[in-house]
Amino acid sequence: MPDIATSFINLDAITILYLFGVGFVGGLVSGFIGSGGAFVLTPGMMSLGVPGLMAVASNMCHKFPKALVGAIKRFKYGQVDVKLGLILGVSAEAGVLYGAGIQEKIKATYGDAGSNLYVSVAFVVILATVGGFVLYDAWKTYRSGNANTEEKAGKLAKWIQSINIPGTMVHFKSINARVSVLFTIPLGFATGLMAATIAVGGFVGVPAMIYVLGAPSLMASATELVIAFVMGLGGSLKYAMHGMVDIRLAMIILAGSLFGIQLGAIGTTYVKPFMIKVVMGLIMVIVLFSRGLMVPVYLSQLGLIDTLGDTTVKLLKNGSFAIMIFALLLGAFIVLRAMWQGKKAEKLLHASGALEHGEV
């Protein structure tokens, strides 16, 4: 554990503005798809000189209040399934603890490079399969011309909903069906495991709610905020017990992200549900390349391939970070654009309605 007394960085105006800005964009995307931002915020803080563990802890301490505000906002729009969020959240907490244990073991055995390689490979494999599928599904919906129709549960979700295991069945309003908690527990656990590994549990949690349980995209992304709140609260307490949270960093990021999350949540009321999948899938696939770029660096550090030159390593690191920022900015751009178009269409609709009723 680093020496806490010397771990607090000096904050100047540029650092504050930087954290506020990244917080805003991260919040905007989180408000829309239920997660995101952490994959840029943690390395972003580390680039300022914050020790890795403190960056993770401070990120977590901004995540739970942000998720709470976002969840309350989206609850008002009728998009949150609190029961599903809490049940998944508790099992996700167990996943976080287990995932952190795996991380510690890998780090103790293979060192920092081994741990980083494990995280990057997990990123690439999971984001390629899940992100690719989410994006393909969104494209299929767009092509079919059914983007305006209500989403229907897929075959897997219907099968899971049809299984009755006495004593374990719970009715969830988002799914409008009874599902055994024996199915939700592993999903929550996997979400937590991902949160502990790649920092963004929602990349597994949201698609799992959509494709495995049969929840609509809007409700899945909103319910993810409840899971993020539960996981973030537990994680923050754990880190705060060791004095690892830099509350200044957490609250400055929160300052920007609360502006963003409110806007992202409002944005969900203007878009077609498949847009959630578009934004999520795109971010996942782009981030995949960002992490993929770092794999040779870690392989080289472990001596599994020829040693890379300092310039190449620097180039790959900077390229990786730039791609991550691009993914987040692209997500934010799509959200704002979709919102702008939705608002314009609504204005036109009201103007034509007023004309028809002779109000103008």
Binding site: F8, L218, M241, H242, L254
Partner: protein
């Protein structure tokens, strides 16, 4: 008459929440040395960052919510909710 013109905007609430929010951030930054050394003690002191996060999210969350409403950025009038 258009609905939007009759709806009162929460300007006063935004200002109150905004002032409290600015005061909280000013205290955090001006007293950062004391706050850092206290919060870093761990153990039962772990509750302090958690409480701080809840307090900031209440006031700053309230402010940001009103901020967008006052700017006219609000949810679509036709509800998109599912069930």
């Amino acid at each position: 008459m258009a609905q939007s013109t009759t709806k009162k905007k929460p300007v006063a609430a935004m200002i109150v929440m905004g002032v409290i929010s600015v005061a909280l951030y000013a205290t955090l930054l001006l007293k950062q040395d004391v706050i850092n050394s206290t919060f870093a003690q761990g153990g039962w002191f772990a509750l302090l960052p958690i409480i701080t996060a809840f307090v900031f999210s209440y006031f700053h969350g309230g402010f940001t919510g009103h901020f967008w409403t006052v700017l006219g950025v609000e949810a679509a009038r036709k509800k998109k909710e599912v069930k």
